[in-house]
């Protein structure tokens, strides 16, 4: 019998390793590329493309492309996808040169901004035309970035969907949960970048490395196939005893999977188990059995198995799946404000807000409101060599006025919000109770912290003669000999601007309210000196809502009354 040597299999190491290229576009994309450069986790050509020359200067990628150097003069797209798109079109030759001759091209971008959403579709198209496999890894904006950016992101998404072979989409809102609320924002972004970088590596290894049970791109796309789906990704690696279940546990721990809770609803799940030569069948079986408990019966499990000598005695488990945005939101406990996302998700094709002049570079911009010719292919740019590429003819909205109208409420929203009366205004309404009589101007103190409010309330409700002001006054008069020292302690003059002197003339009333509010906020924090904390002066301060509670209560109340 002739033994079949698996290591000699045609798709094994004998063929030339596929050439991979990773392109990071815009701020988010270049961060991911930086992360990959630093970690050296993927063997690939790394390209960073950005309109902003300063960001580009900081990038660590070996190949850098300044998009639209003449057009943008090295300044960012400023959140306008049109500018980003044009910039990319200007530099398309440069882009093609950089990404040519690769088998697989990853495009990483943060959607929603100018460069990311504008340039990514263009670059994806260029990449597609070089004949490579195009995989897009993109992030959707945080919900707090507003509906406008979300709309831009979804528009870009639609364009990308047609050009990429596979689209891996991460929800930034869920990324926010990767880290604990206490951790710094820097860590949060680092973690998110790391996760994206990890997923890039996992996808490339899964689709490229030879496997005993091979998973291909088709499996990947079917795992990710989900209308408006967001990627669920988990990766775990473990060694030593019990390594199989440990690795799976780690993979499930990924916040994007939420301890396996999110897997209950998935239709397709891609599982890839990789290990060194010591990988046993029992281990694989154990992993799959354990995983089975988290996954409903009807889920289609796409199973892959690979032996990678590089892993040594470790086992790596990768889980990839996708979940519709609706389901994801229903599940996520700390989900983004639903009113921001839910209606969007239901509307299949959101009106692309700022896109009346998409075909500018070729045509001479006929009229922004003119509907495009029915037959016009949905190409981002036309040039001779690309003209033959077919693309789904998906025209943009018939009536841009409608789009305009749809946009309007989103703009009005924040304004209406600003004009809401600030809570402390009501506080000024009641006539100053007798407690506060000694200092009439104190009726306008903006007491907002609950504790402070309570105290003030308490002070007021004690309508007996012992008033708060009297307490404080007594505390001063009490000591005869130490009067001066005490006074020093209490009066503690801080240069504090009066509310009334705030610029009330600054435009609309809304802005006036805002500015007043902000000054009030800054005044609220007490910068009392160390000596006011008495015996607690060398302990860790107990700060609650900007107040150091180690400072005597009466002293803090007095400071408030003084104002």
């Amino acid at each position: 019998m002739v033994e079949y040597d698996r290591s000699q299999s045609p798709e094994g190491a004998s063929t030339a390793a596929p050439r991979i290229c990773i392109v990071g576009i815009g701020g988010a994309g270049s961060n991911v590329v930086d992360r990959i450069t630093l970690d050296r986790i993927v063997d690939a050509t790394l390209v960073c493309a950005h309109t902003d020359v300063r960001v580009l200067g900081h990038s660590m990628a070996p190949v850098k492309i300044q998009l639209g150097a003449e057009l943008m003069k090295g300044i960012g797209a400023g959140g306008d996808p049109d500018l980003g798109r044009e910039a990319a079109l200007f530099s398309r030759d440069q882009i093609r040169q950089a990404i040519e001759n690769h088998d697989i091209i990853f495009i990483s971008a943060g959607l929603g901004g100018g460069t990311g959403s504008g340039a990514a579709p263009v670059i994806a198209e260029i990449a597609k035309n070089t004949g490579a496999l195009v995989l897009v890894v993109a992030t959707m904006p945080f919900s707090f970035e507003g509906r406008r950016r979300l709309a831009q992101a979804e528009e870009a998404l639609e364009l990308l969907q047609k050009r990429a072979d596979a689209l891996v989409l991460f929800e930034n809102n869920r990324m926010g949960e990767l880290i604990l609320p206490k951790d710094g924002i820097q860590k949060a972004f680092n973690q998110a970048d790391q996760l994206i970088a990890q997923s890039l590596r996992a996808i490339s290894t899964i689709t490229i490395t030879p496997g005993l049970v091979k998973l291909g791109l088709d499996d990947l796309t079917s795992a990710l196939a989900n209308a408006n789906g967001r990627c669920l990704f988990g990766f775990g690696e473990a060694r030593g005893q019990n390594r199989g279940s440990e690795a799976l546990k780690k993979a499930l721990k990924s916040p994007l999977i939420d301890s396996g809770r999110l897997l209950h609803q998935t239709k397709n799940l891609l599982v890839h188990v990789a290990g060194g030569e010591s990988l046993t069948l029992v281990e694989v079986e154990g992993v799959m059995k354990q995983l089975g408990r988290h996954v409903p019966d009807q889920t289609h499990i796409l199973f892959g198995l690979g032996v990678d000598a590089k892993l040594g005695d470790a086992i790596a488990v990768t889980l990839i799946s996708s979940l519709g945005l609706n389901q994801l939101n229903a599940h996520a406990t700390a989900a983004p404000p639903s009113e921001m996302l839910q209606p969007r998700a239901e509307a299949p094709a959101p009106a692309p807000a700022p896109a009346p002049k998409r075909e500018i570079p070729v045509k001479k911009a006929p009229s922004p409101y003119a509907p495009p010719a029915e037959s016009a292919p949905d190409l981002l740019f036309k040039s001779d060599e690309f003209a033959s590429v077919p693309a789904a003819g998906d025209a943009f909205p018939l009536n841009s006025l409608q789009a305009e109208a749809a946009k309007a409420p989103t703009l009005e929203q924040p304004v209406a919000h600003v004009e809401e009366p600030p809570p402390f205004d009501t506080f000024e309404e009641p006539a100053p109770p007798p407690v506060l009589a000694p200092a009439p101007e104190t009726a306008r103190i903006p007491v907002r912290t609950p504790a402070a409010k309570e105290l003030a309330d308490a002070a007021r409700s004690n309508s007996k003669e012992s008033t708060l002001a009297a307490v404080v006054a007594r505390s001063v008069t009490l000591q005869t000999e130490a009067a001066e020292a005490q006074d020093d302690l209490i009066s503690f003059d801080e240069p504090e601007p009066e509310f009334e002197s705030q610029p009330a003339s600054s435009g609309s009333s809304a802005t006036a309210v805002l500015s007043r509010k902000s000054t009030a906020e800054s005044q609220q924090t007490f910068s009392l000196g160390e000596e006011d904390r008495g015996r607690f002066k060398d302990t860790e301060p107990s700060i609650v809502q900007g107040e150091d509670l180690d400072v005597p209560t009466w002293m803090r109340l007095k400071k408030k009354l003084r104002r």
Binding site: A451, S475, S542, V544, P552
Partner: protein, 405 residues
């Protein structure tokens, strides 16, 4: 197994360090054998700041406790507190394998595991993870799920965690004495075991352990621990306020607070004066009693409000009301102020009756250390019976793991 077990509880408080030696009978009764106490130095807001001073004080207390109880103390249950300790509730959901319909022990373990895999800050360590209830297919308040039919099992956990370094410091401090730490217990959890009766826990109760350095609280709902935590404000803050308002040293302010102070100033007759004496009995000056009380009132109210802010969501469901314990709970009028703040029934309580030195268990100051004994007893009764050999092996294992900690 011996008929009864002797435990020692050590509480390193901000005001005092207390060692309680108790005997837990097999029928569940506790007998206090001895209490050793020493004033505390080097502790601020419930946390150790000066190792050497604390160790001296612990030694003092230990010697006294050993003397009175005639027991050699080797192992202690250590009560800890501090602003870094936080709590949360988490639910772990486990779906049974398809071919299985009856919940087995493994499934419960799995659900527990998932519930416990909550993400806490990396620097933190679990102090307690208490099972609140199990939920089988959406049916709540299941106490014993093993053997039941079901598809989905959820374990509901209350998790208390604190900063590893700070907890570790307390343990290290005690180890150097040398004493072996059997377990670390969050103070209010221990105190609640003796302050709150089973009925109170079922009806819903909030226990506030108002100590010198911190104000710890535990909230029970339907017999399940629902919230717990620590407000880093306490009796020392009241003293500090008094001392700064009257410009007198801390020691005298403390004495004034304990002997004369009250948090009620409404009914104090106008103009009633108090004389402040120095150590030799010389009268330094006079202050108005109402003023002293008002300073104390403001601070006490503020601290209680801080507690209320943290448990606001659960206040509506407390049938048994508030239980005040800890040193400050002996302050005059604090129950009235607490009632004002929370708006529900307030009880001042010490430990529930245990036999032994009566003066001890009636004093709310000792709720936490006595609670430690009770906690130890509960912990032991939950442990499966182990043969002496196995217990030895376990001890060795613990010893080894503690070295690598």
């Amino acid at each position: 197994m011996a008929k009864s077990t002797i435990y020692a509880g050590l509480e390193i408080g901000t005001h005092k360090i207390c060692v309680v030696v108790g005997e837990a009978k097999r029928d569940g009764a506790i007998k206090i054998l001895g209490v050793g106490q020493a004033p505390s130095r080097g502790v601020r807001k419930g946390e150790i700041v000066d190792f050497e001073k604390v160790q001296t004080c612990v030694n003092d207390a230990l010697v006294r406790a050993e003397d009175r109880s005639d027991v050699m103390i080797r192992n202690v249950f250590l009560g800890v507190t501090g602003a870094h300790i936080e709590s949360l509730n988490n639910r772990g959901r486990h779906r049974l394998p398809d071919e299985q319909t009856e919940i087995s022990e493994d499934d419960v373990e799995e659900a527990k595991e998932i519930a416990r895999s909550v993400s806490i800050p990396q620097s933190n360590v679990f102090l307690h993870s208490v099972t609140r209830q199990y939920i089988v297919d959406g049916q709540e308040a299941v106490r014993q799920p093993i053997g039941r039919e079901g598809r989905v099992l959820e374990a509901d956990y209350h998790i208390i965690h604190g900063v590893r370094g700070r907890v570790q410091n307390a343990i290290r401090c005690v180890r150097e004495i040398p004493l072996e730490v059997e377990d670390v217990v969050f103070n209010p959890v221990a105190a609640a075991q003796v302050v709150l009766t089973r009925e109170a826990k079922m009806q819903g109760a909030l226990m506030i352990d108002f100590g010198a350095g911190t104000c710890d609280y535990v909230l029970y709902e339907d017999g399940m621990i629902t919230a717990s935590g620590c407000v880093p404000l306490g009796g020392d803050h009241i003293t500090n306020d008094v001392s700064m308002a009257l410009q007198i040293p801390n020691g005298r302010a403390e004495r004034l607070k304990v002997e004369e102070g009250s948090v009620l100033y409404d009914e104090v007759p106008e103009g009633e004066m108090l004389s402040i004496e120095d150590d030799t009995g010389l009268i330094l000056g006079e202050i108005e009693r109402a003023f002293l009380n008002e300073v104390m009132n403001l601070r006490t109210k503020e601290i209680l409000i801080q507690v209320r802010v943290r448990v606001e969501d659960h206040l509506g469901r407390l049938g048994a009301g508030i239980y005040l314990t800890g040193g400050v709970s002996m302050m005059k009028g604090i129950d009235v102020v607490a009632r004002e703040v929370f708006g529900i029934k307030v009880t001042r309580a010490g430990s529930a009756p245990v036999s032994g030195i009566t003066a001890t268990f009636e004093n709310p100051q000792y709720s936490a250390p006595i609670g430690l004994i009770r906690y130890a007893q509960i912990l032991d009764s939950e442990k499966p019976f182990l043969s002496p050999l196995k217990r030895l092996g376990r001890r060795m294992q613990e010893l080894l793991s503690s070295v690598t900690l």
